[in-house]
């Protein structure tokens, strides 16, 4: 039985092994789609490749991508986090408020990360100790954190942020903007942890089969808790970039971001049911969504059509995954 079930895979034996390995990577379809879309936009959308245009979009993609790196681990572990929109807002207020009163870069950044860690820990504790489904916990937190922003600030915006606090959003090193450097460094760090640490391996194991992981002596609770905390850390860092770029914080900061992040993770190729995916997938998804949104603006798609187009393109990107599975005769995961 097992032999027979495994055999259909060998039908792709004619394909060179290297190509096959690349195509089997979870982010392959999104990456191909991204390259094709970029080529199309380079020819059809005027100004797509302009440095000014790229620069304008980088911060948004970086904020999305940094948070997606964290949520990606949560999704890999078999859970989900849809609280990050409000979490980013709250972290941004922490960064902004500390920046406003204390100035400097490090203190506001730490305030943002600290706020994120607290919020992420609450998520993690409710999911693992409280045994409440993560979609419900983080949905509740999405509203609760947004409510906290309104209560704490009384609806006041922060506008007076000193430029040294904004360094992460504004500066560039050797011609490369700081947000991009941060994104690349975090991608490498998170991917390294994911592939080479026991915790990273445990995330895949718990997401692949939580029961078997528990029976093998892994702590499914601790593993998932840490994934939620990682989301908090990364959201705090993203908040510093966000504040640096925007120069101010409104009470609706980050609203709607939660679903973009989940979309980035899933479109990128991480399985929504856990256990399969990569950090590269999350970043690919984030860039893809950023490019789509930018392309729609450049092509003068009317504002009321943009959501519909984004949705259609996400569905198109995901269906290429189904196509790939069929090409490679891979079992759906």
């Amino acid at each position: 039985m097992s032999k027979a079930a495994a055999m259909p895979r060998s039908e792709t034996g004619r394909m060179p092994a290297g190509v096959r390995t690349l195509l089997l990577r979870p982010e392959a379809p999104a990456l191909i789609f991204l390259v094709l879309l970029a080529i199309v936009l380079a020819f059809s959308a005027e100004g797509f490749l302009d440095p000014a245009n790229l620069e304008d979009n980088i911060a948004r993609v970086v904020v999305l991508g940094v948070i997606a790196l964290g949520v990606n681990q949560v999704v890999l572990s078999g859970e989900i986090d849809i609280s990050v929109g409000s979490m980013l807002g709250l972290c941004a207020f922490a960064v902004g408020a500390v920046g406003e009163s204390q100035g400097g870069l490090i203190l506001p950044l730490l305030a943002g990360i600290g706020t994120g860690v607290v919020a992420g820990s609450v998520n993690g504790a409710l999911v693992t100790l409280g045994r409440i489904p993560s979609i419900i916990v983080t949905l509740g937190m999405l509203y609760a954190l947004r409510g906290m922003i309104l209560v704490i600030t009384g609806g006041r915006w922060i506008t007076n942020i000193p430029s040294d606090t904004r360094a992460l959003g504004l500066q560039s090193v050797a011609g490369v903007s700081v947000p991009v450097i941060i994104l690349v460094v975090l991608l490498v760090v998170v991917e390294l942890i994911s592939r080479n640490s026991t915790w990273g391996r445990n995330v895949f194991a718990v997401g692949g089969n939580r029961r078997a992981a528990r029976f093998a002596g892994l702590s499914a609770g601790r593993t998932r808790f840490l994934a939620f905390v990682l989301v908090g850390v990364l959201t705090g860092i993203a908040a510093a970039i966000y504040v640096g770029r925007a120069g101010g914080v409104q009470t609706n900061a980050g609203q709607g971001l939660e679903l973009q992040v989940v979309a980035a993770v899933v479109v990128g190729g991480t399985s929504i049911s856990g256990g399969r995916g990569s950090s590269v997938a999350a970043i690919t998804g984030a860039v893809l969504i950023g490019v789509i949104l930018n392309g729609l603006v450049l092509l003068d798609v009317p504002a009321e059509w943009q959501s519909a187009m984004l949705g259609a393109l996400i569905l198109l990107a995901i269906s290429t995954d189904a196509l790939r599975r069929r090409l490679l005769r891979e079992q759906p995961s």
Binding site: A4, S10, T198, G208, N209, A212, R214, F215, G217
Partner: protein, 497 residues
């Protein structure tokens, strides 16, 4: 007729002829990977043959889906029990079929239940058809699947390993159902690893090996030795391996262990180098007991001692740290991370140990894996292949390798040879024997009486959560163990006790 099925470059079955007469039981045997399931999936329309043709009652047919096969009267009871847990028994019978409708077009529940009850009556079995399927015992789920297969007026029924999760008594009941079917002229294809069953129930036996049809013969012309030889292609002189074991001090001792509605007042000791067989019917509380010792289920009262020291485990991790490992019976749902490669499954429990400061060293991981994969002769695979590609027997061995990697002193093996072919079985027995010689304490939970009787130094029998009997190796017989497991008063035995 001359059926061939290729998957890529690999030929899964090659020119196999197979026929089924009305009213006969035709057993199909062979090791895992011999092509039994592939053949039956072609017959049931799940795969299309690359060569050869199918005939039903002399007419050539082409099945594009299993629905076509069912329409032609060919039903299949799959190896995996795939009922819908939240639907009632009656609803499960009607899944994928035309359901009766009431006058306004809604579902006619009364008619469905009545028909379902009638179906079970003809099988001579009493099941409450309004119960959700998740509340049924494994045996009853099997019965429901048989009833479902027969709903469509099947003339041929394929049973793929129907007894892999049944106990002896339930197997007897299944055999009665099969006899009933054949008396009604239904032909039954019986796919199984268990040779004793094949000899009990079959009229004819066909042997497949490596996708080739080796032999078809009436059961009277074969004996089990000959059959094993045909299946594995070599004489298998001794399936069970047993060397004398040196028993040392007490490794594991349970005193009055209880957990409400699962097991009560369990006293049990296992010495170093001793294999204790734990027999009983499914639902007797054996798995629950082992899982409680392993720290998966909290113990409510009673004490556990390891090497004379009192312990209480709150997680499998704690149990493993004290040298206790549990090999679960459900490979796919409890034992393995299916998307993982073989090596990552084997090192799952020892990652902390082979990591430095929380980071993994792939070289070291591969070396550790190779050591255990070689020792267990997990064949035909690169350890970086996904574990889902291994045969059942090799998956089982990988699961045991994962436990051995923890360097345990006490092993709790839960149905270690379930759904495993003869060759792998023999290797697992050799391994258990070797572990015993190495001084490990082993609890062998098994529903296969022959296995318990042949492998264990001592047999403990559980029924309804209690230990009902204990036999030394020389005293244990099939009859005595069965009587204690089923709760039947054994007259001769009772007098002796």
């Amino acid at each position: 007729m001359g059926l061939t099925k290729r998957f890529g470059g690999v030929t899964a079955i090659d020119g196999v002829d197979f026929d089924l007469l009305p009213g006969e039981v035709h057993a199909l045997v062979g090791e895992n990977g011999a092509g039994k399931s592939t053949l039956m999936k072609i017959v049931h329309g799940l795969y299309a043959p690359d060569e050869g043709r199918l005939e039903v009652e002399g007419r050539q047919v082409t099945f594009v889906s299993s629905r076509d096969a069912e329409a032609a009267g060919v039903a299949m009871i799959p190896q995996e029990l795939d009922l819908f847990p939240e639907l009632s028994v009656a609803e499960n019978l009607y899944v994928g079929r035309h359901r009766p409708r009431s006058w306004w077009g809604g579902l006619d529940w009364t008619a469905m239940r009545t028909e379902a009850r009638r179906q079970f009556e003809t099988l001579g079995i009493d099941i409450d058809v309004t119960l959700p399927a998740r509340l049924l015992s494994t045996a009853n789920r099997q019965i429901v699947l048989i009833a479902r297969a027969l709903m469509g007026d099947a003339r041929a029924v394929i049973m793929d390993e129907p007894t892999s999760s049944l106990t002896e008594r339930e197997v007897q009941r299944l055999f009665e159902v099969i006899k009933d079917l054949t008396e009604r002229g239904v032909g039954v294809v019986y796919v199984s690893h268990r040779l004793d069953e094949v000899f009990t129930i079959a009229d004819r036996i066909s042997v497949l090996r490596d996708g080739l049809h080796i032999k078809t013969a009436p059961v009277s012309e074969l004996d089990s030795e000959e059959l094993v030889r045909l299946m594995v292609g070599r004489a298998l002189s001794e399936l069970f391996v047993r060397n004398p074991h040196q028993h040392g001090s007490i490794a594991l001792e349970l005193k009055g262990l209880s957990r409400s509605s699962e097991f009560t007042d369990i006293d049990l000791t296992i010495h170093r180098g001793e294999v204790v067989g734990l027999a009983g019917l499914i639902g007797a509380g054996r798995t629950e007991l082992a899982q409680a010792v392993f720290g998966i289920r909290p113990v409510e009262s009673g004490e556990i001692y390891i090497d004379g020291e009192r312990v209480s485990f709150h997680s499998p991790q704690e149990a493993m740290n004290r040298g206790v490992v549990y090999v679960p019976e459900e490979r796919q749902s409890q034992g393995l991370i299916l998307p993982f490669p073989i090596y990552a499954n084997i090192t799952l429990s020892i990652l902390q140990k082979i990591a430095r400061a929380g980071f993994l060293n792939y070289d070291r991981e591969r070396k550790t894996t190779d050591r255990f994969a070689d020792a267990l002769s997990i064949r035909g695979a690169d350890v970086s292949e996904p574990i889902s590609r291994l045969s059942g027997g090799n998956q089982q061995k990988a699961m045991i390798a994962k436990s051995l990697a923890c360097e345990p002193s006490i092993l709790l093996l839960d149905e270690p040879t379930r759904g495993v072919d003869v060759g792998a079985k023999s290797e697992i027995y050799r391994l258990i024997d070797q572990l015993g010689q190495d001084g490990k304490a082993i609890l062998l939970i098994s529903s296969e009486l022959e296995e318990v009787l042949s492998m264990a130094d001592r047999v403990v029998v559980m029924r309804e959560g209690r230990i009902t009997a204990e036999f030394d190796r020389d005293e244990a017989t099939q009859e005595r163990v069965m009587a204690a497991a089923a709760g039947v008063e054994e007259k001769a035995g009772a007098a002796e006790l």
